[in-house]
Symmetry: C2
Subunit: 210 residues, 2 copies
């Protein structure tokens, strides 16, 4: 079965595809599916699909393959982080708003429940896709709502301070969009997302230098 350590990003990216296909099959009363069927329907390599499905649900039965409903449950289980898959955005600027309103997270069972900002004017913005609270409430909100992930979209010079508050509020991981290296307890993983350097690296690969 897929454990935390063995789950790879490419496989994680395929799970919503598998689920979409399997849920449709289930509504059409297709009781069992084989890796071959799934791979053909989705245009994916059969060996890879067999490995993916095997890692979440063991080997399929000979000839018939996997029970459709059971496979759906297994795949949903991978994306089921209990109540802890809620996230908050810290910094309600353009990027913060964009992330709050991004619908793709729901496919992975993750919801952004609130945003926080020092600018209290933003807390009243009716255009915000999620409620915006003052930064002073961040810690108590995280503790009370058992928030799993803090998404940091504040400027570089205030990132460490808000990160410390989120960690004090018990968040278990940080997704950092501020272009700065954060200092964190070893138990709290951080993923740095430097959009500027991502774009620059692509430019460096593709564009001629002067």
């Amino acid at each position: 079965m897929a454990e935390k350590g063995t789950l790879t990003r490419p496989m994680l990216e395929r799970i919503p595809e598998y689920l979409k296909y399997l849920r449709t099959a289930e509504t059409e009363n297709v009781r069992s599916v084989s890796a071959t069927t799934v791979s053909r329907a989705l245009g994916l390599g059969e060996v890879m699909v067999r490995k993916d499905l095997g890692s979440v649900s063991g080997e399929g039965r000979p000839k018939t393959g996997y029970d459709t409903s059971a496979l759906i449950s297994r795949l949903e289980g991978i994306l089921d982080f209990g109540g802890a898959a809620s996230a908050v955005v810290i910094g309600a600027g353009k990027l913060g708003y964009a992330l709050c309103g991004y619908r793709g997270f729901a496919e992975y069972g993750i919801s952004i429940t609130a945003a926080f900002d020092t600018d209290s004017g933003k807390t009243l913005n009716p255009a915000s896709p999620c409620p915006v609270y003052p930064l002073s409430e961040l810690k108590s909100y995280c503790l009370f709502h058992n928030v799993g992930i803090a998404i940091i979209t504040v400027p570089a010079d205030s990132a460490q301070a808000v990160c410390d508050i989120a960690v004090a509020g018990g968040v278990r991981a940080i997704w950092n969009f501020a272009p700065v290296k954060l200092t964190l307890p070893e138990t709290v993983p951080v993923k740095n997302e430097n959009l500027a350097s991502s774009l620059a690296l692509l430019a460096a690969q593709a564009l001629p230098r002067r």
Copy 2:
């Protein structure tokens, strides 16, 4: 000297830091700097800094190190993509707006000059951080302005179509935020940015499963 192939993301992320430090040193009439000085000032490993600077500017002179101005020019040269570092955003939704208004790109000499959207209402939005044009003008705009990179933030089902238009307009790379695999000519590199799976992977590492 650093060539396209040897430029790594971690080094690319350090270049703005180096430049910030060196430009300050230059204004303070510091004529030459050593890898040791730079590494100490920035709190970075000396071996790494020596390697970075060596890769862009060869070995420094014994004792004195690098000529400050020459080193600045070399580092700026890495980020100088000529006129081709302009980018356009296709899809003027929340994420598109956030990218248009993101200031970090300027550090790498890249500017987003326009956004495109099918919704002509968006072309009149005065809050947009860059002009929004109708999608029908995308190809001619890219050709005329020698646009290097197209950033795709449309929904998955229209991503391939807008990508094809951008490629017909001569863009040399695609930065794709739509959760779909794009088909492209081999000469046009694509970087896929799946925000949802990035967050899900972090959740999978950090949060307990039910």
